[in-house]
Symmetry: C2
Subunit: 220 residues, 2 copies
């Protein structure tokens, strides 16, 4: 049974932005704020903001707006940031090590407990005190230690097999940096960070006018 | 004059995926393919695929489908991947260095020519032969050497100022890894990779059912 259809992905993708901006607003010492004021900072219409937040039962008060701290706390709950998550990184290459070194994740409750790699030169080394294990030991590791989230940062040709090991091992969230789409059962959530796709999107934007004018698309 | 309104961002975001899948289809030795067959691989409806590609004048033939190689080449052009881009990375920390080490970008025409950082310990070092310069020299560097794309991988408190230097220096594309939204003029394109937002989106997905059931949202 899934509630997914209730909240659109577009709304979900905006939640971290709300959380980020409300954090800044709190830092600015603003204790109450209207959807209009949030709108001016975030480049989202006030009505869109009210709609988004109403989805989660966060209602502003007419003529008062939102209590910044309460709203911030609510969105923190909605994003599941009151919990702690155990995380592993599969693929101790550049991106994997960069993520392991990024302490801000830990501050927010995302705790890296192990890295895995196939490269014998890396196995046994540590990154910020986190050991790199042989990826052949991944299944056994998961059978002993519960892991909430796995970062997938390996070449695409190995991604499907490793993803299956993660799924079989009870991992419920996969943060996928491998430049390939992986299929998972409904109860295993995936968030993709396809860096090459992202860079290509940027190069498209750089060339869009030239491309569209070549196609004789009318200007707006 | 902007053509942006012509093609929705959703379509644009799918283009790199089409390119990626068509590359795999070519590797599989498939010389012609129908939108239906692409659809089965990509989890997008065939009509959506035809619509997306028609936007760019890529029409399949009734009963024949698409010539894989021609379509792949067209999308490569549309994504601006026939050109070479000069790139710099501002912020030679974990992510900045990871990106500098990622040679696949170079293979696709994205050429890193310099890194910049404020940390004296890093200045003068090289990553994959690419020198790390003092960020104070960024403006002068840009006045001498044309840069197409800059990667912004610095703490959010410095992002706005550095972005302004990049814009003043004639950089036309900013690949933004700093966890803050930056404003640019219409002719300077931005693509955001907000890793913390992405991880929070995943933690939301992990908790969605619990959250929505707490809010007594009906199941579908």
């Amino acid at each position: 049974m899934s509630f997914n259809k209730n909240i659109s992905l577009a709304v979900i993708k905006r939640l971290p932005r709300y959380y980020r901006y409300l954090g800044d607003i709190l830092d600015d010492g603003i204790t109450r704020i209207s959807s209009k004021e949030i709108s001016q900072r975030m480049d989202i219409t006030a009505s869109q903001i009210r709609q988004d937040l109403n989805n989660f039962g966060c209602f502003g008060q007419q003529g008062y707006g939102y209590n910044t701290e309460l709203l911030y706390g609510e969105i923190k709950k909605i994003l599941g940031l009151e919990k702690q998550y155990s995380m592993i990184i599969v693929g101790a290459g550049n991106i994997g090590q960069a993520l392991a070194n990024y302490i801000n994740f830990q501050k927010r409750g995302f705790n890296f407990i192990a890295l895995f790699d196939a490269n014998p030169k890396l196995i046994g080394l540590t990154v910020r005190g986190i050991e790199i294990y042989d990826v052949d030991k991944l299944a056994k590791y998961l059978s002993n230690i519960p892991v909430d989230i796995a970062v997938l940062a390996i070449p695409k040709n190995a991604a499907h097999d490793v993803a299956q090991i993660l799924i079989d091992g009870g991992v419920k969230g996969i943060w996928n940096f491998s430049n390939i789409d992986i299929k998972t059962p409904d109860d295993v959530k995936v968030e993709n960070v396809h860096l090459t796709d992202s860079l290509m999107t940027l190069s498209y934007k750089l060339n869009e006018q030239e491309i569209l004018s070549r196609l004789n698309r009318p200007a707006h």
